[in-house]
Amino acid sequence: MDRTKIDDIYRDRVILDHCRNPRNISPIEHCDLLGDAVNPFCGDEVHFQIGLSDEVIENVRFTGDGCAINMASGSLLSEAVKGLTTEEASELSIKFVESMRKSIDQDVDQQFIGELSALISVRHFPVRIKCALLAWSALEDALSTKA
């Protein structure tokens, strides 16, 4: 089998690594924002607890269940938003979702997303894009909900 094809999606082992060893899963001391997202069609779910210091995201706890892309996306996101203000996190979310919705032949500015770029390759598999976006719905839910 041509490994490169399947590696398009699970490339650099980033997705598999984050799926197997999700980051930021420990309980956090205090929580200001709570966010959840569930895809009833596949049963995947993502939950975030966010602790703020002033308006800066100081602590994140990610919990979830589902496929590798969903779990990796939640884990990568939890890393990416740490240290951002809630406003910056919102902007990142908008930019990321926009990038994911771009067709595969359109260039994506990968500068701003760092390790998140591993998720950008999920665009090769249109039916799996929603797996990568579930965590971002949970983030948006958290940013709009005070605990």
Binding site: M1, I9, L16, F41, C42, G66, A68, I69
Partner: protein, 413 residues
């Protein structure tokens, strides 16, 4: 003689490659592929016979009507219906079920009545009854399921009572492959004065069906799962019941006489077929039935039983640690449907992985959410076979799953 390699040549799509690999199409419970003969029948209709049916005196309309009614005869014989008046065209099994829920259910299900289902129903044989029960204040009950994915038939006598108005059961489960003893359910239902509906969406394409032998009151099935086009399905209803039923949809084609004030209904079967019907696809389904008859449904069933036996063995003996294969392990009561789950790979990741090596399987809840949940999982991967599948394809599947497990467990090499 059943020559699968020769059969495969009739299906143009089976020559397709997916990411450079030969297509291994194992999503037949969702829809089947179509042989050249069915595709040609559609083209032939549009090129040579296209006209509306049952209305023109012109030659084309008469030819179209003959072909259309001929297709109904074919489908009627295929299920051994006593009369083609008992066969109503619908879009699919779902529409057939809704037709029964409205046209029969509205007048025959009353407050306090019970509808008995199995836990392995497709949403299409669940939701219309939930809605009917809600409208009528009726109750829905379920025959319990055993660990091996078969019905607990010992409980059926207690569950069918004088309150039971309808027993509606899937003949072959689209998620587990279980073949249910629907004839026996019918005997028990009739003994208590209840009707029996058989959901044949997965069984009619895969085994001989004889509505007189089954003695079912209703049978529903879809054309697209049995080599026919999408958008055409059928409903069989015992004639004396059908005669007592009110129309489902009203309008053109289903009327005898219309004034500005009222209308009277056309004879069977047209009373249940409002509007210009799906002429082309009915003819296409007739052609699919011809194709299946040439092969012989006994032979189709034998071939698939053979594949099922082989696949059960391959799954059992493969290096697939922790793999859960759902459904009965006796090929005599199981169709070629394999739902499975692995602790290390989510079904969607597995589906994507298999797709990349050319294997088409379904992942998810298979439109049987309550059943899949009762298995303790959110989703499964499902491989489902048909008459053109081979043992070699079973090998490709089992090897592919083994490789996927290794990939997700150990990482890319």
């Amino acid at each position: 003689m059943f020559d699968v390699e020769k059969i495969r040549l009739d299906f143009p799509i089976l020559a397709k490659e997916i990411f450079g690999n030969p297509l291994v199409y194992l999503d037949n419970a969702a829809t089947s592929q179509k042989p050249r003969q069915v595709i040609d029948a559609l083209v032939d209709y549009y090129e040579n016979f296209n006209a509306n049916v049952h209305r023109g005196v012109h030659t084309l309309s008469m030819e179209a009507t003959d072909k259309y009614e001929d297709a109904r005869e074919k489908v009627s014989s295929f299920i051994n219906s006593e009369s083609s008046d008992s066969v109503i065209w619908t879009r699919n099994a779902s529409e057939s079920l809704n037709l029964v829920a409205y046209s029969w259910g509205e007048n025959n299900i009353n407050e306090g009545d019970e509808i008995l289902l199995t836990p392995m129903e497709h949403h299409s044989n669940l939701v219309p009854w939930q809605e009917l029960a809600r409208r009528k204040n009726a109750d829905i009950k379920f025959i319990p399921m055993l660990e091996n994915g078969t019905l607990d038939m010992d409980r059926v006598d207690d569950l069918i009572t004088e309150k039971t108005a309808l027993v509606s059961a899937v003949h072959m489960s689209n998620a587990l492959g279980t073949i249910n003893p629907v004839r026996e359910l019918g005997v028990k239902a009739h003994r208590m004065g209840a009707k029996i509906l058989v959901d044949g969406a997965q069984s009619v394409p895969h085994m001989p069906t004889d509505v007189q032998e089954l003695n079912c009151d209703f049978l529903v099935f879809s054309g697209h799962k049995m080599l026919g086009p999408t958008g055409i399905g059928a409903l069989y209803v015992k004639k004396e019941i059908l005669e007592s039923m009110e129309p489902f949809l009203t309008g053109g084609e289903m009327v005898l006489e219309v004034s500005y004030e009222e209308a009277s209904w056309a004879d069977l079967p047209m009373k249940f077929e409002a509007g210009t019907p799906n002429i082309a696809d009915s003819i296409g389904l007739g052609s699919a039935v011809d194709y299946l008859n040439v092969l012989g449904m006994e032979n189709v069933r034998e071939h698939e039983k053979d594949l099922t036996t082989y696949a059960l063995n391959r799954f059992k003996n493969a290096d697939l640690e922790g793999l859960d294969l759902f459904g009965p392990d006796d090929p005599n009561i199981r169709g070629g449907v394999f739902s499975f789950n692995t602790p290390d790979v989510h079904p969607h990741d597995l589906g994507t992985f298999l797709d990349r090596i050319g294997i088409a399987v379904r992942t998810g809840h298979h439109c049987a959410m309550p059943l899949v949940r009762s298995l303790g999982v959110a989703a499964t991967a499902r491989a489902s076979f048909y008459l053109y599948n081979t043992k070699k394809e079973v090998d490709i599947l089992v090897d592919g799953v083994t490789e996927a497990l290794r990939y997700f467990r150990d990482g890319p090499n």
